[in-house]
Structure formats: structure tokens, C-alpha cells
Amino acid sequence: MLDNELRTMIDEVKDGRMDRRGFVQRMLAFGLTAPMATQILAIGGVAMAEGPSVYKPTKRGGGGALKLLWWQGPTLLNPHFATGTKDQDGSRLFYEPLACWDPDGNMKLVLAAEIPSIQNGGLAADGTSVTWKLKPGVKWHDGKPFTADDVVFNWEYARDPATATVTIGVHRDITVEKVDDLTVRILFKKPTPFWADAFVGAPQSIIPKHLFAEYKGAKSREAPNNLSPVGTGPYKFVEFKPGDVIRGEINPDYHMPNRPHFDTIEMKGGGDAVSAARAVIQTGEYDFGWNIQVEDDVLLRLEKGGKGKTVYAVGGDTEFIALNFTDPNTEVDGERSSIKTKHPLFSDPAVRKALSMLVDREAVKKVIYGRAGRVTPNFLNGPEQFVSKNTTWEFSIEKASKLLEDAGWKVGADGIREKDGKKLKLLYQTAINGPRQKTQAIVKQACQKAGIDVELKSVVASVFFSSDVANPDTYAKFYADLEMFQIPMSQPDPAQHMRRYHSRNVATKENKWQGVNFPRWVNKDYDATVDAAEAETDLVKRAALYIKANDIMMQDIVFIPVMHRLKVEACSNTLRPVVSGWANETDNLFDWYREATG
């Protein structure tokens, strides 16, 4: 029903009988948000509108110096080698992608001239190709023109295994071809509803062919421009000291009108988050501090009478507790947590259900995350149109106890519940990080009251997230019953995120624990739903499928969502940054400006 009505409305917009705003408002009534509505229009044949600009200055330059404080300084400036977001952030000062994401998850054009749509011939109706028109007249900082050859080169450069890029994953399954000097076409192997992956966003920034062509493949590390970027961005490169400082100056030939606002830019690295917050909010030595993961109490105190404030950006990052569906304590063919085993306690759904009732999300928010968190019953928390409204959560020790009691888990002499000789004893691991250890304590306390004994374990982050096959403490090996962390959602689309938990991706010894389904959860229903979603080009149906996938996950209690986390940044009172929860902090840097103090 919704479908038919939608089609009529899209046609009305096409014929001009209904205006865009009217359409978006009607969609809101259906519980869909503006970005979703515009995407629906795009697939329905009405061009997607670019996100609105909030940029006020009417001339280029004159904004003085912009001083950014990244408490983990970028260590390299080639986006194809960026091992972490900090490196992408640094590269993005100078290099640019075709488009990026604004705070609402709308697309914003950077090097592209228009957003591909079915109407303008940019999108193939079957979802197997996307054609990008490039902005004419764009020049690299050394004066050479930016053309389709550069885009094609980036694809060749990144997909060559000998170059050892981290962007190879995006490029190896696509084909990029030059149509003419200012047009490139990306061909997908199968219908791809989310086409804005390659060349979109900071991680996919484009490097110049004329400076890197000689350094493709094994010679990639010798390229002198790895350390001195020549890009198309709003700022020109001046100096780089890895881990310490990056400096840039205004690009007088920048391709966007009246931009950039600042005359020079500096990105300083090092130190810790608290002192970074202090340098921005309290003393005003810096204009912007990145990733201020500091307890809200501290921030509130700093903000009193300070020179700055905190700003938040909503994305889809969810801190969760994952349940192990296999037995971490039994070894099968030299492998613990083997898919051939079943978890002795969690195979009883009542135990999983009880656990989900023992995570006091409200308390975690109040005590730990404060303004930087939102309580959620869902694993998938964004973009808005993919968020399920069918789920609920509650915290109740009594109900959890009753549930366990009814399922036959009786309290033993030592206060711990047991059934058939199996005691409710759990090992709960996470990475070392203040908020995480506090959350562990809150959960442990509630579990204890319900008769579940929880042993806590914390692992150094560089080990926990390591891909080292020899280490037993990685999250992928999951030699514990519960583990808590988050997987950042780096684009406004759930496909990559939800694909992980398909049963074909189970982490095993055989695939050297590179399988990304670390809870080792297998559910045929879920597999079918995700497969269907990936092939679905109708955006409304696709969103519904991902919502269903989330609901299956929550029903099975694969994850207990702890917090929907927001990005937290510190910002001076006069700076007007544009920070998207769907992109790197510097992705919208061209729109940043300083309000004249009055």
C-alpha cells in the first residue's frame, strides 16, 4: 500500500504537481526522514538534492589561522595508506574525493559536478553502474588540470596488491573507466544499491596521477609526495612532521566560490583527549579538538566560563556487548570458540534474554557517556530510515531473575545460579578504555544481583583489535563469553555493517579468524534477509529488509546494544565547524568558518 502511494507521489513530484518539500513532509508522516525521502526521489527518477550549505562568508580568505588539535597526530598523508581515521583526516586537508557526506547524511559535491541519478543518466536503472561527471576547471596545487585520468589512476593504483593500499577492498571488485576527460564510469559486478562508496568520503580522496604514476606497485613507498601532498583541496601543503604537525596555507585557486575562509591551517598532534579539551575549551589555544572522548562531568566543568564548547555529531556508532554462540572453553581440532560447538549457557534463550535485561543502559548513559550517548534498543542506529521502531528494551533485575528461575536456573549455595551442573559463570572482555571498564562494572553488579557470576577482563586496545593470528586475546578469536566494543560505521549505509554477520563470514581457524562474524552466530533467516537487501534496488524495500535484519538480531540477542555513541568534538565559541557523524571530521572543512566576535 505504501508502495503504491509512494509511486504516485514520486510521479507527482516529477510532473511538478507536488513540490519537493511537500513530498518530504509527507514522507516524514510515514516515519521516514528527509535524507531518506530525497534518496527515494533519486531512485524514483527525481534528482537527489545536494545537502544545504550553511557557509556564510562572502569572500575567500581573511579568516586568519585555523588551529586544529588532533590528540593522535596523523602519521602519513596518503589516503591510500591511511591505517586510521587520523591519517584520513590529515590527508583530507589537501586531497579531495568526488563527494562527501554532510551532517544529515546528504551527499555534498566536491570534485563531482552533479549527483548521479537515474534522471541525469548517472545511475543505471539496474544498479550495475554509476557515471560521475567531474567539475571542469579544477586544478591540482601545482597547476596541472584534474581529469578523469586521475580518477581512473587511483583505481589502478589502489587495486594493485603490490602497492599495499588499505583502500584495495573498495576497488578490487569494481571497474573504473574513462568516458571522456570529465566523465568516469564505475561498473559493479552485481547490482549495487549503495553506489557512493568508491571516491566518496575522506578515505577515498583522489591523488594526482602525474605525481604518483611512477610509484604504482612495489615502488609506492618511494614516492616523494607520500609526505608532501599535492591535492586539489582548499589548503595547500606547507609542512608535515609525522605525529606532530601538519601546516597548510590557503589555496587561492580553490574551485569552490568564496572558500576557504581561513588563511592558514595547522593540525597539531600528540597528548591526550583531556588536555586537548582543555586547550580548546578552557584556554582557547586551539580552535578545534578532535574526538574528545572524555567523561561528560569533566567536559561540563571545563565548559563553565570557558572559551569553547563541545559539539556532537550523530552517526551510527553503536557500543555493544556481543554474545558468543560457540563454546570458548572447549577445544575442537585445536580451536576454541569453534563453530562446531554450542555455547553451554547461551544455547538457552532465557539466559540471553535475562542478560539483555541486566544491562542498565540508562545508568551507563547517566554515569559515563552523558551527552555523548543515546540509549537504544537497536544494533543498527542509523541512518534514520534504517532504524527499527519495533524493538524495546528494559532493565529489570527482578524480571531477569524470574526468567532464569522459570527456565530452571536455581541459585546454588554460593549464590550463583546453576542448572544440570552448569554454573552461570561468564567471562566478559573488552578493550582497555575508561568508559568501557566502568560499563563492565555496572553490568557485573546487576548480574551478581541476579545470580550470574561475571569475571571481567580488559585487553590493551592494540592487542584486542589486532589482526595477529598468534594472539589469543583478539576480539576475532573471542575466547570469552561476552565482549564489548564498537565497530565504527563509516558511511551512511548499513550494507557493510550488516553483511558481517552473514553465516558465511563466521570467524574460524580455517580462515585465520579473518571471518568478520565474530559472535559466530548462524541464522538462515538473517542470511536470507541480508542477501535480499543487497540485491534490492527499491530503497524503501531495502530499508525495510535492513530493519528486519536488525530485528532478527535483537530477537536472537546476538548483541546487547549498550549505547548509540555520538562523535564528540571540542570547538571554540567563534568557530562554526561542519562535522558529520557519517564522515571524517575534516570532510566538510571547506565549509568551516569563524563568526566575527561581537
Binding site: A65, L69, Q72, T75, L76, N78, F81, T83, G84, T85, P161, A164, V166, I168, G169, V170, P203, R221, N226, L227, K241, P242, G243, D244, V245, R247, K268, G269, G270, G271, D272, S275, R278, A279, Q282, T283, E285, A461, S462, V463, F465, S466, S467, D468, N471, D473, T474, A476, F485, Q486, I487, P488, M489, S490, Q496, H497, K512, Q514, G515, V516
Partner: protein
Amino acid sequence: MSQYVLRRLLIAIPSLLGISLVLFIVLALAPGDPFSELATNPNVPPEVAAALRTKFGLDDPIYLRYLHWITAMLQGDWGFSFVSRMNVDTLILQRLPTTLYVIGSAQLLALMIAIPVGVYAATKPYSIFDQIANTLAFIGFSLPTFFTGLLFILLFSITLDWLPFVYTTDIKATGFRWVIEQVRQAIMPVMVLGLFQAASMTRFVRSAMLDVIRLDYVTTARAKGLGQARVIVKHAMRNALIPVVTLVALQMPAVFGGAIVTEQIFRIPGIGSLLISSILSNDTPVVMAVTFVFACLVVLFNLIADVLYGWLDPRISLR
């Protein structure tokens, strides 16, 4: 003398080899992964991190990796940072001037406080001055630098707003103003480190001086009718400084090695902060190079200290 130096240098070779082997094995056995950040990025398939590990030789057996490293090092190739994808020597040389400036000034400050205060306190033991100097020294070396550092920041940067607490390597001023700014930003770290060093050194100088000042030859010198200043400076101090020289010489490598905690607090881009960030990101080649250079410096300055003994006290002969 030259024979002695040559012999010492030859002995240094096997010990440095041993040190490098131990360092390498410890680092290779230490858990962690330079590509750990890739693991949680859903954009990057896990095979990519695995391919990078293979490409950088992280999956090779330890002895092979060590052989590669040592042959490269002998040819002057310090290695290649996994994290920055640049040569390690460039990285280190970039950081060295700042470290030398900040830590060197701190050492100088420490010496300038410790020697006069220590000597004067020893000439008047248990006087009011001695008591005060002792008490301050105790407080000084009981307070860790991370504590005094934060205290200084809270006082001078936040409450009084006099000094910046983020160290910048390139100050955008020229001439006199540049010097002023350079000094201004170094005041806090230099004070924190210098006072900490000075505290322990003062006590050391004082006790060395006390040992010497009671000896007969000092009494003889006084009996000859020499003035107090001359006795102390020319006769007593020269002998008392022998142990102090050892202490200072052994601290010289630290001047190059940087001060990890202080550099982190004030965001000083020195060797110490390079070392700590490399350790945290498991950038083995950088950690290896920094620690190995450090080991070489310790060996070298030990030798220098021994040679200096001979100059300070001709009775010590070097064979």
C-alpha cells in the same frame, strides 16, 4: 690511552649485538599489531590487514626478521616505519633538535642548581640552608613529573594564563619574538624536568662533597693558608665531582632519548613521544631504532665517563 679506547670500543661490539638481539626478540614476542586500527574499520576487509602483515614481513620467523634488520642496520639503513611509511632515520632526525633543546636545557638547569647548592650545603652541613635544601630535594624527587607537569599547567596556563601548554615546533614569529616564544613555551617542561633532576643531583653532589671535605688533604690545604673559596673549588670540588661526572655522563643518553612522560604532557614532538607513540602503535622498526641508538649512546657515554676520570684524577690510570 688510545689503546684503551680502542679496546673498549671492540668490547662494545658484542655487547651491542647482544642488546640488539634481546631488544628484537622482546619486541617480536610482544603482542600487538601495527594494523590494529584496520581491524575495526568495516570498509577494510580483514584480508587487507593480513596482506599488509605479509608484505612488511611480520609473518616471517623471528630469526629471519632479525637477520634482515641487522644487515640493513650495518649498511646504515635504519629501517622503514610501518605506520608512517617513511625511513626511520628521517623520523628520528626530525625529532632530535626539539629533544636536544628541551631536555638539554633541563639538564643544564639541573646542573646549575645542583652543583652550587650541593657544594654550599656540604660546606655547612646541618645549617639552616642545608636543611632547607635537603627538604626541597626530598620533595623534588618524590613528586613524579606527570604530577608536577599537570600542576604547572593548571597554575601557569589555566589559572594565570601566562604560558602556553601545547609545544609548537614552528613558531610563526621571526627574530627576537621567535626567541621569546621559543623560551616561553619551553619554560614549563624545562622546569618540570630540570627541578626533578636537580633534586636528586643536589643530594648526590652534597654527599660526594661531604666525603671529600673531611679528608686530610683539604685540612692541609686550609693549613697552608689558602682561602675557603680556593680550597673548595680547586681542591675539594675537583675530587668530589668524579662520581658526579659518572652520573651526568650516564644521564646524557637520556638527553637524546627524551623524556617520555613530560613530552607527552606538553605535546613536545621529541624522541620520547616518538618512542611512546611507536610502542603504542606497534611500529617495531621505529622502536627498535630508537632503543638501539639509546643503547649505543649508553655504551659511548660510559666510555667518555671513564676517559674523563683520567683527566679529573691523574691517579686513575687507564690501561
